[in-house]
Symmetry: C2
Subunit: 396 residues, 2 copies
């Protein structure tokens, strides 16, 4: 057994989260794509079956009350809240991330007030955020200014209405400085909107602590909610009365069953709701969140293991992969690293295909990036060592 | 056995759709709330289990290709298309009805062009359509003009951009004249947007035949897709190149995995997509649509039985319920009736509670309406007779 394999074995033996792996359905594949689609939690299939067969099949319409369907968006929001450092009553679940970005950016511009007509957007963002911000700008009389996160402080000013940023870059895995950037946005009198898709469930976010205004995120990556599970929207409690949604659907009405012709927004976070929530996907997510209730599972523990995993992966890659064959584009500094490692590699598309054939699943990001996500709840150190070893064999 | 019970027995024996009932999970309750939440099709639980356990649990990320997840919105749209009289390639499934109303109304205003700044909206609409139309108007520099559908032709003019109408009124069950109203909208040079929530799957819609421009609908009523199953958007093929979405998410990009900073819309109906589709709810819907493939099941057959059921219900109510105790607000004329009967009744809330206790499930619409929906795929004539008989016993 190699030195690194021995080290992996030791680290797995000492890993306090190692037992959590049994709460997921996994096989002998090394699954490093949980930053795209989280693995299936063991609790989910039974819950979904109950939702379909009993709640829908037997109780039918009664389930909107009796099975808690109607209140699911805010109830599940409160389950996500502690994972992103938010007190209860500030998150609702529903719709896709893109739709929530639209709600958040338009609402942010409306909060910012007169004379502020520029939306600053991370130029390296996952594309949909940029597309949606352009639409929000067009529909609110603003312009979009794309800059890298590092340039954000320099472009803020009296005209800045809102700033839309990614907590972790989807491509490089770079973790941006949420506290400092939020403070800079606030110093300029603008509204900070954070996209947490690639950080929530993998590292501490601290929404309340850092005074973030609005945030959105998906639930199918590190929260393991399942394919296309609904996204969420955070509206800080003191801003909720000023949250003016561009999608004022009946679910966010103060009296949804009053069937009144005039819209009157509900108080609180549920002002972010729109239409009837997709119950099957939403309750699958609820079951998936149970894993966070297990003893010893916390965002802090997850973050510590995540950094140990990515450190170890970089160490293994350095040892197994011929020098110069791949280049990490993920920052070395812990405070700048999310829970993934991205390796630039000229023939990345082909390499990823062969990795997958060998049982190491990551993904390929056009044009030249191998992306490996590390979900500490179910990825172990032996997985990491094997992934790097197979990569080394393939590219040698 | 009473005369009406005998008549019910004879009608059930002659009913060519009677066998379809076995494709649904039903008990001894008379379920007349399928216009709110359709009953569970027998095919759904097994399909959902496969999606969860095998597609997500075993194939994980590979399912986006291998299980056809990525193309589900347009594939399932093509399954709905024949049910609303549309050729393939014009419908995508995804998001809630409210979100689709927003897409459709904004896109309609943009299609209508300069100088047209009024959105005419059915004043008797299900409220969310009105709320969302108001938001669309606010964000496109338009005003909303609420009128009853009968008044629509009188208010159309050079300033009309779009007209948002309901095919069937959610409260009264009145079926509006889609061909004539669409023609009137077109004669005024405006864009017709139809909400099919209460008609699709219950009666012929004829979108292509009548030249409807844009349409939206939900899938959890007469299409039995399950609680909060995704809605759909129809964009007539010749308008697709002009469909300018206010929610241009990455799923509607011409090259979604190109991760390009500039948005370029895909051709065709999938321009109506936004973010990652909720696969669990979507594939449950796909399984639910299988029932339409059975021998003898067609929208025509469903419509014929629907009218026979509602006729018979009105006949039974007239016989069993003391004269004057309830008053039907649903039109008598077949060409003005959807697939529900709404009875005005001063103590409707209390009466519906007691009906449900007696195994007859309809719903109550504030302040004084008993609403009974008839899904011909699983409601029989004996159900109808029993519902009216129990109602008569309760209010006598």
């Amino acid at each position: 057994m190699s030195e690194l394999a021995l080290k992996a074995e030791k680290s797995d033996a000492a890993d306090e989260l190692a037992g959590v792996r049994s709460q997921f359905v996994l096989d002998d594949v090394v699954y490093l794509d949980g930053n795209s689609l989280g693995a299936l939690p063991v609790a989910v299939p039974g819950r979904v079956e109950d939702v379909v067969r009993r709640q829908w099949g037997e109780l039918r319409i009664r389930s909107w009350d009796e099975s808690g369907w109607w209140t699911a968006p805010e109830r599940i929001g409160d389950r996500i809240a502690p994972l992103v450092g938010a007190a209860a009553g500030q998150i609702v679940v529903g719709d896709s991330t893109s739709v929530n970005v639209f709600k958040a950016v338009v609402a942010a511009v409306r909060m910012a007030g007169e004379g502020r007509d520029e939306i600053v957007v991370d130029a390296t963002t996952f594309p949909t955020d940029g597309y949606i911000a352009e639409s929000a700008a067009r529909m609110t009389g603003c312009t979009v200014r794309p800059v890298t996160p590092a340039e954000v402080p320099d472009v803020l000013g009296d005209r800045t209405a809102a700033v839309l940023l990614n907590h972790v870059d989807y491509r490089t895995g770079r973790l941006h400085d949420l506290p400092a950037l939020t403070a800079a946005v606030h110093a300029a009198g603008a509204v900070a909107v954070w996209d947490l898709c690639h950080s929530a469930g993998a590292l501490p976010v601290g929404l309340d602590e850092h005074g973030v205004d609005l945030a959105v995120g998906c639930t199918y990556k590190y929260l393991n909610g399942g394919p296309g599970s609904p996204a969420y929207l955070y509206v800080r409690s003191d801003l909720q009365s000023r949250f003016d949604s561009p999608l004022p659907g009946w679910n966010s009405h103060a009296e949804p069953f009053g069937m009144r012709p005039a819209y009157e927004p509900a108080p609180g976070a549920l002002r972010g709701r729109v239409g009837t929530p997709d119950i099957l996907s939403m309750l699958a997510l609820e079951a998936a969140l149970d894993v966070w209730d297990a003893d010893g599972v916390s965002v802090g523990a997850v973050r510590a293991k995540s950094l140990a995993l990515t450190d170890f992966f970089l160490e293994c890659v350095a040892s197994y992969v011929p020098s110069g064959r791949v280049e990490s584009v993920t920052p070395v500094a812990h405070e700048e690293r999310g829970s993934q490692v991205a390796l630039r590699c000229a023939d990345a598309g082909d390499v990823m295909k062969r990795l997958i054939e060998r049982g190491v699943v990551g993904d390929f990001r056009h044009p030249d990036v191998l992306r490996f996500g590390f979900t500490p709840l179910y990825v172990g150190f032996a997985d990491v060592e094997r992934a790097a070893r197979v990569l080394g064999e393939l590219v040698r």
